[in-house]
Amino acid sequence: MIISVILIPFIAGILVPVIPFGKRWQKELFLEAAVILNSILVWYLLLHHSDSTFLLAHFTGDLNISFRVDGMSMVFAGLVSALWPFATLYAFEYMTKEEHENVFFLFYTLTYGVTLGIALAANLLTMYFFYELLTLVTVPLVMHTLTREAVLASRKYLYYSLGGAAFAFLGLIMVIVYGSTTDFILGGVLDPAKIAGKTNVLLLIYVMAFMGFGVKAAICPFNSWLPQAGVAPTPVTALLHAVAVVKSGAFAIIRLTYYSFGTDFLKGTWAQDVVMAIVMFTIVYGCSRAVKETHIKRRLAYSTISNLSYILFGAVIMTPLGLVGALTHLVFHAVMKISSFFCAGAVMHQTDRHYVHELDGLGYKLPCVFGIFTVSALALMGVPGLAGFISKWNLAQAAVASENPLAWGGVGCLLISALLTAIYMLTIVVRAFFPGKDFDYTTLAGAKDPNWKMLVPLFAFTLFIVLFGVYSQPIVEFFYGVAMGNI
């Protein structure tokens, strides 16, 4: 069962170029059906999970490839499987204007399986294996347009990711050597007898592994691949570079911190201070760059950099509450950012405009798209009643409760970042809806809202943004259960 949800996307993806589809809608139907079926299976699996571990392959000692459903995997797998069908639907419409669709959908669907592999991995080795695989299957997606820019971007992405994974590998070795097991156990697996006297070395390795996994989570100074990777088609930037890939990085860091090294070992050490300082800097840095950037998708990519560090900020507070904050933002940011990315993509698809200063007056021509964009902008800023407020609230409360002065400073960073978020998001909204007195609307002739395949995902995400904003109790309680190890 657990292995089938990873295999189905593999099979479906590989079949796309193989089966000779007569019409386009047949291919769409096939893919959408496969993805939805898989998502249903995932949710079934999550809701009826048992604690048993599924062993796929056994190497030496206790090194093995195995899968298990625990609280963290439920959060990440649930998130990914909820978003993927919508993103696929959106991609059908978006890709009508792009070439070699089959290759695109092959790798796009493969990525689904690989991401689930990361989410469901039962030990550090399995996660590491799928983590590397994720890099490999997403490189062709970045390279998709085959322009010089895209090739450069994908090469950079490849080098950064592999380099980061190499550092993460160090962490893996340390856990194998000094841990009692490599399985994920909340609270950590380091063996007190083995680590005596080696604390500082282990902390150093933790910081290195943090930075290694942090490459995918785009922490400063390893973030420059992400905005550049924005040359990929929008479904990729929206789903992979705002959710699946980058959040795999954050997910891996949470696994490493809470489930392998353990917060008891790390909390209050210099290592915590170092990683927290890096994260706080990235929060402000990402936003500042977003304000400066004029390309819409790159602006959103910088915003992602900043928001990913919100998640990491929650994680490095290293208290259960901090983990709750991190998980809340992991899920809520996914919905908000994918919504704003899809809006940007819709604008590019409908009008072929890529820069912020080209958006004047479009709010009247694409009212649905820009209405939804406004909602996601307000949510990212953290207006109460929308999802962003709740996740920021949880993060800030965790920071305040941690009694760590550095974390208090982090709350300040969150708010500076909120202001900058307002600046880079609302300038777009104001441009779109208030183009100014002498604006000539005839230049916009022909621009209109996209069709239902693009609008359905957008409306669905908006619904979730509002729903999470006004009624977050059950899901936050669930996160609390995860953080306390009850689930």
Partner: protein, 493 residues
């Protein structure tokens, strides 16, 4: 309960309706009739909302929770005396300025959008006045910024759009500074529901007392942005004058008061006892005094009438904040009286300035020579309102300044207790200096005045009546301050 909800959501929804129904610019043949329906509808909405608000004030005594964002964060409404006072002011100012704009906005584009956001601001202000806890207040505080921004950039020139953005970002900056405080306050207090006398936990005061003072100061700076307090006042003189005159009136008379209301709530949450006599109080008083003096001085040397009035708002608002910062009963009474006085007076002044622009197209104060012969009624309103702001008895400004000075002298804060009234006096002189020349040159243009044309050019009744109503109200506040003072004492007791 239903009255409160209706008075909040009816105007917001009707505003949304206007926005969607009249989203395209009025054009061509149908313009006249469409405009007539638009104006009638808006007028109807304004009156209905006013009635709903009044009935809410009269009937709703109990607070109620609308819904739970989470178990501890609630959207909670409750009408208390301070909120009721602000709400009354809001109803009068918004309805009067609204009717004024039916005539004034005749030649502007995109009227539908203007009225739509105008109605939304009405609802949001009601919600702010009725908010019963800090979370609800913060929610509507953000919404107020967002819904009033389109009023600022309404005329769509480059200058207006930049001013709108400046307003937006300054306000959000303030809101986020306040949110920083909310995060810490939540952790260290029993509840965020507004209760008299402070909500801080005794254990928190003992443990983090000095840090909480810093938090309080950051919150005051943050909410102070909306009230135009130094050093974050720069948006106000930019944003208020570029809006259409009736919108400037509402911005200056009412929307900035949201910042005042916020500061009243914050000082109550922390508790005056906790803040009194600390470095924070001293710093706050100093900031308000600097703002009072600086605002008056800048107004004094500003030639454009609407800008001059905006600088005057900066200065006058800090009179109110000064009263809050002093933190005793007399000063608080003075503050609330000045909220009323300044609300009516500043609305009248801006509407008069709008009437001058509407009838003659003149924006600079020195161009208004001899205006009293052409628009005597308007200039009389302007004059009476000016006297009120300067504080000449028996107008409202005199009483409020009296209480402010009294409170300051009683407070016993070294140096500042005397310096405060001195600054108030100097500022009053400057106020006279920047307002009275308009009247003087308007009525007495001098012997060499040729009088370009001496016909009566009074604006139509729909513009003059709102001005007259509010002028009368500002005088009433001065003539019968006891009613208000009694009301305040009831709040205090």
């Amino acid at each position: 309960m239903y009255c409160i909800l209706l008075s909040v959501f009816f105007p917001i929804l009707s505003g949304l309706f206007l926005l969607i129904r009249y989203r395209t610019p009025l054009s061509g043949k149908t313009e006249g009739s469409v405009r007539k329906t638009l104006v009638t509808l808006t007028g109807l909405f304004l009156i209905v909302t006013a009635l709903l608000t009044l009935s809410a004030l009269l009937t709703a005594k109990e607070g109620f929770t609308l819904f739970y964002l989470t178990e501890t964060l609630t959207i909670y409404f409750k009408i208390d005396a301070v909120g009721a006072l602000f709400s009354l002011l809001a109803v009068v100012v918004i309805v009067c300025a609204g009717f004024f704009s039916f005539e004034y906005m005749k030649h502007e584009e995109r009227e539908g959008r203007y009225y739509g956001y105008y109605m939304m601001v009405f609802g949001v202000i009601n919600a702010l006045c009725f908010a019963g806890n800090l979370i609800t207040f913060y929610l509507f505080f953000e919404l107020l910024t967002l819904s009033s921004m389109p009023l600022v950039l309404h005329n769509g020139t480059k200058e207006a759009v930049m001013a709108g953005l400046k307003y937006l970002f300054y306000s959000l900056c303030g809101a986020y500074a306040a949110l920083f405080g909310v995060y810490f306050l939540y952790k260290n207090s029993e509840t965020l529901t507004f209760t008299a006398g402070g909500v801080l936990k005794a254990s928190s005061i003992a443990e983090h007392g000095s840090f909480l003072l810093v938090v309080a100061f950051i919150m005051i700076l943050g909410f102070g942005v909306k009230a135009g307090m130094f050093p974050m006042h720069a948006w106000l003189p930019t944003a208020h004058p570029v809006a259409p005159a009736p919108a400037s009136a509402v911005l200056s008379a009412m929307i900035v008061k949201a910042g005042v209301l916020a500061l009243i709530r914050v000082t109550n949450l922390f508790g005056a006892d906790f803040l009194r006599g600390t470095w924070m109080q001293t710093a706050w008083i100093c900031l308000t005094l600097v703002t009072i003096f600086m605002g008056s001085l800048l107004a004094f040397r500003e030639p454009v009438l609407k800008k001059r009035l905006a600088y005057s708002t900066v200065s006058q608002l800090s009179y109110i904040l000064f009263g809050l910062a002093v933190m005793n009963e007399d000063a608080f009474t003075g503050s609330l009286l000045h909220v009323l006085t300044h609300g009516f007076v500043k609305a009248v002044l801006f509407l008069c300035a709008g009437a001058f622009i509407y009838c003659t197209g003149k924006t600079r104060a020195d161009e208004l020579r001899g205006i009293g012969r052409r628009m005597p009624l308007t200039l009389w309103c302007f004059t009476i309102a000016s006297l009120g702001l300067i504080g000449i008895p028996p107008t409202g400004g005199f009483v409020s300044k009296w209480y402010l000075a009294l409170g300051s002298l009683k407070s016993g804060i070294p140096v500042l207790d005397v310096l405060g009234p001195v600054v108030l006096l100097v500022s009053a002189l400057l106020t006279a200096g920047y307002l009275l020349p308009v009247t003087l040159h308007g009525f007495f243009p001098g012997a060499d005045y040729a009088g370009e044309n001496l016909q009566k050019q009074e604006p139509s009744k729909i513009m003059t009546i709102p001005m007259i109503i509010m002028t009368i109200l500002s005088v009433i506040v001065g003539l019968f301050p006891n009613a208000v003072v009694l009301y305040m004492t009831v709040i205090g007791g």
